[in-house]
């Protein structure tokens, strides 16, 4: 988890957006993670801990419930992250799947910057229309 707390107290942020990346070992997971980190650097939202939700940690589930939006980036059609959110019955969620962007899932290959950019662009599109 990132060592930074997002404070809504300044009143400058209109939405509390939490970002979650696939935690798998394939290229699409790396793209998901890098896209989420880039979005966080651009202040589109704060990365949050998917494993914490998977582990049913109450404090983390509560924060996901209270967020204005949870943006979940799954790597592939196995949709592990989506299943965690569905299990918790969370409705304030939007999903992006990396393989839906025409990117093939592979292991042990370097990630192309252009593919990360595609994921970031898709996420921004979702954020702008939600």
């Amino acid at each position: 988890m990132a060592g930074q707390t997002s404070c809504c107290c300044s009143g400058t942020k209109s939405k509390n957006v939490l970002l979650y990346a696939c935690s798998g070992g394939a290229n699409v997971a790396e793209m998901s993670d890098r896209a989420a980190r880039q979005l966080m650097r651009e202040k589109a939202g704060m990365m949050f801990c998917l494993a914490g939700l998977g582990a049913d940690l109450p404090n983390m589930i509560q924060q996901a419930k209270d967020a204005d939006l949870n943006l979940v980036i799954d790597g592939c059609p196995i949709d592990c992250a989506r299943k965690i959110f569905e299990r918790h019955g969370l409705k304030n969620v939007q999903y992006v799947r990396v393989t839906d962007l025409g990117i093939e899932k592979k292991k042990g290959v370097p990630v192309a910057e252009a593919d990360v950019a595609k994921v970031v662009a898709r996420c921004k599109q979702v954020l702008c229309t939600t």
């Binding site: 988890m1 990132a2 060592g3 930074q4 707390t5 997002s6 404070c7 809504c8 107290c9 300044s10 009143g11 509390n16 939490l18 704060m46 949050f48 801990c49 914490g52 940690l57 109450p58 404090n59 983390m60 509560q62 924060q63 209270d66 967020a67």
Partner: protein
């Protein structure tokens, strides 16, 4: 005694949540201790990313919102 914890750096919305929490606790006649957690390291132990937060006995009940006293009553009683 309930431990009511307000997590946040201490800016106006954090203070508003603390005031509303105190008002709710008093209205309910609760025995409580109100603690303001402003240290980032302490906040991170709660797994908190959005403040202000209200936690009751260490369990986060609300994050990133300034709740009204009536909303808080439902969470702390």
């Amino acid at each position: 005694m309930k431990k009511l914890q307000i997590l946040g750096p201490g800016c106006p919305k954090c203070r508003a949540l603390a005031a509303n929490t105190e008002a709710a606790a008093k209205a309910l006649g609760l025995e409580y201790e109100l603690v303001k957690v402003t240290d980032i390291t302490e906040m991170m132990k709660f797994g908190v990313m959005m403040t202000p937060c209200l936690a009751v006995d260490g369990v986060v009940k609300s994050a990133g919102k300034v709740l009204s006293p009536d909303e808080i009553k439902k969470l702390i009683q």
